[in-house]
Symmetry: C2
Subunit: 289 residues, 2 copies
Amino acid sequence: MERAENVAIVGVGLIGGSIGLALRACGASRRVVGVGRDAGRLDEARRLGAIDAASTSLADGVAGADVVVVCTPVSRIAADVRQAAAAAPAGALVTDAGSTKRGIVAAVEADDRARRAFVGAHPIAGSERRGAAYGRADLFEGRACVLTPTDQTPDDRLEHARDFWEGIGCRVTTMSPSAHDDALALTSHLPHAVAAALAATVPADRLPLAAGAYRDGTRVAGADPGLWAAILAANRGPLLEALAQLDRQLAALRAALEDGDEPWLRDWWAAARSRRRLYDGLEALDDAD
Amino acid sequence: MERAENVAIVGVGLIGGSIGLALRACGASRRVVGVGRDAGRLDEARRLGAIDAASTSLADGVAGADVVVVCTPVSRIAADVRQAAAAAPAGALVTDAGSTKRGIVAAVEADDRARRAFVGAHPIAGSERRGAAYGRADLFEGRACVLTPTDQTPDDRLEHARDFWEGIGCRVTTMSPSAHDDALALTSHLPHAVAAALAATVPADRLPLAAGAYRDGTRVAGADPGLWAAILAANRGPLLEALAQLDRQLAALRAALEDGDEPWLRDWWAAARSRRRLYDGLEALDDAD
């Protein structure tokens, strides 16, 4: 990011707090204002060094902002973006960090002023934990951030958004809101739903015999129920399609088990391992950057 | 373990190698002999300090053993146990480290001499990696080890097996071979199968947008296809039942998504999170031991 800017972060949890820490670590911002409903949590974010100043009024908090980043839960993002666009200076960029995009972008674009200020974004980084206390200045380092401009998005805002997210370490990529939601249904929402289903399936009295495969396979089931219910509901069409694809794998597995077809099981596992190794290769490339 | 014993480890991979490292670290054994088919891998295990001596002949390797631990793939364990029981001194304990127990115990007990020497065991520790090079002396520290004696198992052998596995750090528990296989279908084989199904579901071109939930949820899909095809096939009955229970969770999730029932999704996720937190609590207790 070339300019030293005033940034307002609406919603200073794990993601918002990490954005603040990253901005202050790289010196790219003149001033970071945190906006939230809970004064206690804002005080904590200030103590942690994630923000310089705080406001419980969205309108006041964004009044001097060059960039507003909305990091509230997906069910509140569109309304917060519209309010931020109305209160921020005319040239400001408004962007977000929501895990779904189609519904948010459509709701924002129904508003003239918001449409001209907004670039939808999803930095693909996070944790099952909540709160600025778990934030990290390097959370976005080398992580993908998807921008979802439409034919309504002004070019200068798109460039501004790209500079902003790259400035805190992201690898920026662009696609349509629908393409984003279809992809993330497979790469994030499905793995989250499977983790919760797996956690719910193993009875409590069996847990003393669970080991690494259960621990890792259910880790993200520790995430917040309200946040994730909203994400799954917001992206239910693509997620249902992703679940159908998983079900085809599980149905084939069941058939092979019923037949006792060990060669099929070996081939199936080998194909899954190859796919997984592609991911490991991508990760290794990132680490080498 | 009170006595300083001669131990033979048949199959010196990740598990066998870790047993050797643990035995030598705690000074509980007089001598550890590794038995395997590949002289190069046995040399490596000796270089790594996992074994004192090596043999490519099972009969020679177990000839002076007080304890024989069979750590070969599940499809070979019963035959290796029978061969070891035939060649080891009359008073020796033969135990194993197989991930399934019902079929192995039944095949071993069909043999008179093996039945009198054998105590089935499953130390619940491991990794998606293979080979003694990934072994660790503390792999079993605080981990559960299930012993599966039957009414055929001599009491002195059961006590010997308990001493042996506790000696390398395990928390020993006992249950029937069938109860073990039913429990592990849920706590280990199902999480492994789900990891492979998830890895196979996400298309290669989407992987750049995968993050932590995919990474952790598919980690164990990196395990060896031959080993895991054999485990899944050996425990197919209980695993099919576990898959049916998972399917009930996924069917309920699909119905809620189709209805857009966000409150149900929140309650479902909260229940899954509670279950997962029970596991975290058990882990914390282990760490505090």
